[in-house]
Symmetry: C2
């Protein structure tokens, strides 16, 4: 483990956020200005392969990395794109019961509107009505 690698892991372990490689890169840059984005990718992906972190891939968006290794799903705000953990208990069994092939794994993303975005939208609407 190089110092860099430790620092990358630290960044993820010090938060419950889901971070993109670029976000990790910028936080890292404050501490080690010479860091390169491809190195961040390489290390994050390595850690994910080693199951030390989890990589969440989503269509047409940057991948997210998180420290939570316990299997779980995600909700994703359709407005700001931020993703949050979601636990749907019994989902795996439910799916296998309703599916006639052996499931190797599955990816679920639930789209919703987060609190912050919901109130922002409301504000905008009200402002429009006043004007």
């Amino acid at each position: 483990m190089t110092k860099l690698q430790t620092t990358i892991l630290d960044i993820l372990y010090q938060t419950t956020e889901h971070l993109t490689a670029e976000q990790v890169f910028f936080r890292l840059k404050e501490l080690m200005p010479s860091i390169s984005l491809s190195t961040v990718y390489r290390n994050l992906n390595q850690f994910a392969e080693q199951k030390r972190i989890r990589r969440i891939q989503q269509a047409h968006k940057a991948d997210y990395y998180e420290k939570n290794l316990i299997p779980h799903d995600h909700i994703c705000c359709i407005r700001c794109g931020r993703i949050t953990d979601l636990n749907v208990k019994g989902l795996s069994d439910f799916l296998q019961k309703n599916c006639d092939v052996p499931i190797i794994s599955f990816d679920l993303t639930v789209n919703y509107l987060c609190h912050a975005c919901a109130s922002n939208l409301l504000e905008t609407t009200q402002r429009k009505e006043l004007s």
Copy 2:
């Protein structure tokens, strides 16, 4: 509707397959050699917006387009990547019951090993054992 647009829709309507823009493009090229890939994309996405076809987005893979508009999920072979329709009845209710925010929509892809790939793998294994 131009002739091109009709032909694009026809290609999707004459199959139950899930096609990428590129696959549609190549089939189209047989009929209209001057067709351009960006035009295929533009039209497919337009049709998807108009809900005349469905676009399926997956992380790190080309998008698929299909004619089946009835909400359903997909199983995706981890080896060949081909995707097939899947109906998990009651999934939507099950999810909403286990999720404390209002669900706007969700995307589920189940990974499995398709028949063809399973027997290919078996063959390869046996060949290895014999040699």
